[in-house]
Symmetry: C2
């Protein structure tokens, strides 16, 4: 249980950031796409295999710089079964390279169904008394909309294995406030009410690192809210989207960290994946450019902590 494994990897790399693997097809260098289409056809399979080559290159360039990767499930689901297969391959390869894998799925449902989701990604799937791994990752994102019924199955698996979850609290997108910022009748915003719940759910899962298994997603784009959320959830790790591409900068992420310099991991997807499109890089240098950006980001963030 707890988020100890992630904290260990963050400390080893001295880098509280995670590389998002959200492979939009137009992120993939043309020479990789061309080769994949020639081999597999201009179809879902060809696109999926292009993404695989791209991901593999990125992981090879990043695995000794970042502690974790965060594949976004949507960009694999959109290529159907071929895409799903490449997601599984990407996860396995990242784990082989020692990376902590946060699968961004934002799953949510009633208790019995949440249990099935948790078994798929965090736990084990039983078939006639034997246990199998369906799509094993170290951590998933969870949407708290159904309340504890939908979160408890994940926490139960966190308690069984060395894994963790990040529960949405305050998202990074412009319209996140429509629901999350609603003011309740006791003067607290909905995101604060969620934070109180997360803190409560997290309290029985604290590990050696001082942090528990139930983390929170807190957008870098809302630093003022992050201050409040940090106070409400002192022992929850924060997964922080919105650095770079979505507009948040290094200063914006500071409130997500605790005074010990821990407590948060900052995501960058497009910034790292498309680094080759900026500056003097050739397409073929996409991995080199991604590595340089990941190092720059590490220095940018650690410089303000």
């Amino acid at each position: 249980m707890s988020v100890d494994l992630l904290v260990k990897k963050i400390k080893e790399k001295g880098n509280p950031s995670v590389a998002g693997l959200d492979p939009k097809i137009d992120y993939v260098p043309e020479y990789i796409r061309k080769k994949a289409y020639e081999q597999y056809g201009k179809n879902l399979k060809g696109a999926s295999e292009a993404i695989w080559e791209y991901n593999k290159g990125l992981i090879d360039a990043l695995y000794d710089v970042v502690p974790a990767v965060k594949p976004q499930s949507a960009y694999y689901e959109m290529y159907g079964l071929c895409g799903e297969e490449v997601l599984h391959r990407t996860i396995a390869y990242a784990k082989e390279k020692g990376l902590y894998v946060i699968l961004d799925v934002k799953r949510n449902d009633i208790g019995s169904t949440a249990e099935a989701y948790s078994k798929a990604y965090l736990g084990k799937v039983e078939v006639e008394g034997e246990l199998f791994d369906a799509c094993p990752v170290d951590c998933v994102t969870v949407n708290p909309f159904p309340g504890i019924d939908g979160v408890k199955p994940f926490i139960d698996d966190c308690n069984k294995y060395d894994i963790a979850i990040f529960t949405l609290a305050k998202m990074s997108n412009p319209s996140s406030g429509e629901l999350q910022d609603l003011m309740t009748d006791d003067g607290k915003r909905v995101y604060e009410k969620i934070a109180v719940k997360i803190n409560e759910w997290n309290s029985d899962t604290i590990g050696e690192s001082g942090y528990g298994a139930v983390g929170a997603v807190v957008g870098a784009t809302y630093p003022e809210q992050a201050v409040v959320l940090r106070e409400l959830m002192p022992k929850s790790y924060f997964l922080v989207p919105g650095y770079g591409a979505q507009g948040g900068g290094a200063k914006g992420v500071v409130p997500c960290f605790n005074k010990d310099g821990l407590g948060a991991i900052v995501n960058s997807s497009r910034g790292i994946m498309c680094a080759y499109k900026k500056g003097d890089f050739k397409e073929e240098q996409f991995a080199e450019a991604a590595r340089a950006e990941a190092i720059r980001m590490k220095e940018d963030i650690t410089s303000v902590l």
Copy 2:
């Protein structure tokens, strides 16, 4: 755009109910499991193929009784790629039999990512200028937590194709109130605020049936809330879980319908799938039992409308 196709199928069958395909492995009759394990092994593949046989039997028995089926993605994802493949096979088979397919995925994310999810299930996926179907269904469930950013990409695809979505408003599970029932400072509950949004999002998508593309998930277990929600979203179709197995009865679903007898489709999963476990049925009669229960449910619901 709009939910016209579903309304048409509901009228044709005279049946405002949908059979949930949530195939927990212990729902599957033992003789089917045994055969699949012998052929494919006691593993994820064997379990997936057992589910396929079961689903196929259910669809064959139900396709002329119910207008729609609702596969719950979690129960397929939990068997990894084999499970996903059986989900795709089940969807294709159900569509071949003329059933409207509501895929229960409760997806949600920031705009760019929601767009990828929508393309995966509702829209088309572009590869070098050509359009492909990744996992085409007629309708998906969507979680409104990110606000309009996360819903608009789905609505855009609804406007392009003859499809619809059901957005979570008030879920059927016991803890759904933790977030959804929070009282806001203007005296409205969060689920009411969501309903106002859904009604607004739905307003530009009204079809010939008088109903729009943006429906709502409203649990049968909360009939009092359903009364309020029905008023707030007069032109949204309701997907109603919680009938039967989750405790809601035929009377509980009445408030979800409009006076025209339309406006809602009631889901039953376990009640139909496991009907053979009640009464004098043999395992081998699971499909017959499911059909009898689906007909009983149709009569139960239509009798109170």
